[in-house]
Symmetry: C2
Subunit: 344 residues, 2 copies
């Protein structure tokens, strides 16, 4: 048995002594087959361990329920994205649909490769976290009418009408910054992702706006941006805590930066001295001393919403593009409510 060719409709037909079309009918439950033959065919299917070839099936079928959707994300090892994936999977699962996912590592070139690879496998639709500002990686698919839902990042396509699901990055950043301002801070450091990235740009913009609204000067030396691991962020933030005067509060606008800041503050023994608030929640945020205040996101919910929207399109909805921008508010856990040292 080992290494034997995988059985096809014809093999089952031979085993059952019927034509392969009859097997096809039985396998697809089409009806119009006598009970006698149904039994014979089903026995043969079981005996041979037959599984229909979905590639051939989809190739032939004109119209059918989607069986596979594609998800282009940045890094599945980042819990934000893995939870997005989980939310998508949840919805897809209820539709007997699988998710073909891949990490771009933030490289546009890799994003293009992934989109092409998914298109060549003829996924029914795409959910994409695009770091290509104008989403050129998806241009040809969009014009062709392939269903695409953008998550987390919103592409800047003039005159385009696309589906988007994302957090309200700017409002969240404004809320976080105002929270620190309200607690008396005037020297706030910002650590966030590369502003070439949509979400990072909006968060930095929100930070600056809140600072400006408070009548404070924009201290560019207090803005640090770039794409780093949490180990790297830890070292970077540690260095910024060493200068004098050090900032009295920090806003970390990305989850790795938040992890890095916790570690750096801990390392310097400043967790009770420097206020800290992060964008996007982290595990154990409430088991630290003090707890880490954050503006949370709910990536699993974002994933679910994106998938729901994609399936609506796959079900034939061709209405105008839908933009879902999810707001959220500060969760106070202690670190964000520390007041500046009056002697500082």
């Amino acid at each position: 048995m080992s290494g034997s060719r995988r059985p096809t409709l014809r093999d089952v037909a031979a085993e059952a002594g019927v034509s392969f079309k009859t097997v096809s009918r039985v396998v697809n439950g089409e009806g119009g087959v006598s009970e006698l033959l149904v039994d014979r065919v089903e026995a043969a299917v079981a005996r041979l361990g037959y599984h229909p070839d979905q590639r051939a099936r989809l190739l032939r079928r004109s119209t059918s329920a989607p069986t596979t959707i594609g998800f282009v994300l940045v890094d599945v090892a980042n819990s934000f994205f893995s939870n997005l994936l989980r939310g998508i999977e949840e919805v897809a699962m209820s539709r007997q649909c699988l998710v073909l996912a891949g990490s771009t590592e933030g490289l546009v070139e890799r994003e293009q490769q992934l989109v092409d690879a998914l298109v060549e496998r003829r996924v029914a639709g795409l959910i994409v976290v695009s770091w290509d500002a104008e989403a050129e990686t998806l241009r040809s698919e969009l014009t062709r009418g392939t269903p695409v839902v953008f998550v987390d990042a919103e592409p800047d396509i003039p005159g385009a009408d696309v589906d988007v699901v994302r957090s309200d990055h700017r409002a969240g950043a404004i809320a976080a910054t105002r929270h620190l301002l309200a607690h008396g801070h005037t020297d706030i450091a910002y650590f966030g992702d590369n502003p070439a990235i949509f979400s990072a740009r909006l968060r930095l913009d929100g930070f600056r706006r809140a600072i400006a609204d408070a009548g404070l000067p924009v201290a560019s030396g207090r803005e640090v941006t770039g794409s780093h691991s949490h180990r790297e962020w830890s070292a970077i933030i540690d260095r910024h805590l060493a200068v004098s005067p050090r900032p009295s509060a920090i806003f970390t606008a990305q989850n790795f930066a938040t992890l890095g800041a916790v570690r750096a503050l801990h390392h310097r023994g400043l967790r009770d001295a420097v206020a800290h608030i992060g964008f996007d929640d982290i595990d154990l945020a409430d088991a630290l001393t003090p707890g880490v205040s954050v503006v949370p996101q709910d990536p699993r919910d974002l994933g679910r919403r994106a998938a729901e929207q994609l399936f609506k399109r796959l079900d034939g909805d061709d209405g105008p593009g839908v933009r879902q921008v999810i707001a959220s508010a500060v969760i106070q856990r202690g670190s964000g409510e520390i007041r500046p040292d009056p002697t500082g």
Copy 2:
């Protein structure tokens, strides 16, 4: 252009004024086509945005490099599994191969559905975290000779010769327990996953063996097992800390349990009073006070190894099954080195 049919070889051929076989040759770089026609075809491909249909290609092709592999995991939202996936993806990516993954949620029924769904899509091979002790979900594929690599859990198939990549669960649990014993603890509580699960069974076994080797009685009231979220574990462990006398040390043999324990200990203000060691590392383990001592795993490395092994098989290696059992040692960060309260 919107909604137009996706172009095929024939469409490109018509556009370029050649036969579709010539287009096929150009697209596959087969050579034997005049420069003039190559140019005409390439222009037509670009103009129409042609992408070959991998389904049809694979259907026809007798032998070819693998383009998609399947990965059956338990829950992609758990960082252990998402890091496994990342490691697999990393290796697959270098082979121009995509990973089709799905979460079983620990349900054998769902595991079977996923395996079948992957087989029906004709993935080249499978990497599986199976929670079905005898791997019956994979029996027919194994006998058929489909390349399968088991990760994390090793199936109990009499006489079977399979590839396995996993941590040394038993040795790790023994090391963790001995570490607590060496620090003077005699009343150690165990919190771990359902022992129906391979890794959980070995870890519990290691715990019991270390306890027995120390000549201590097995206190069944101190063993709590089950599959829970970290919120649930937090509540469960909190309850066990409320009894008198409470354990002087706890060993959490699963990452959600570790997170739950940190939260529960924090909630009761016992982080400096009760020793704690976990199996599998967690984020921020070193930024807590005290740091969380653990026996770490390197899921990304496990994923890489599993994928490497799978590709070896796909490249034709048909040697005997390879078992990689990765050992690891305690990382001391503070929580595991707390000594029992002498007044306790």
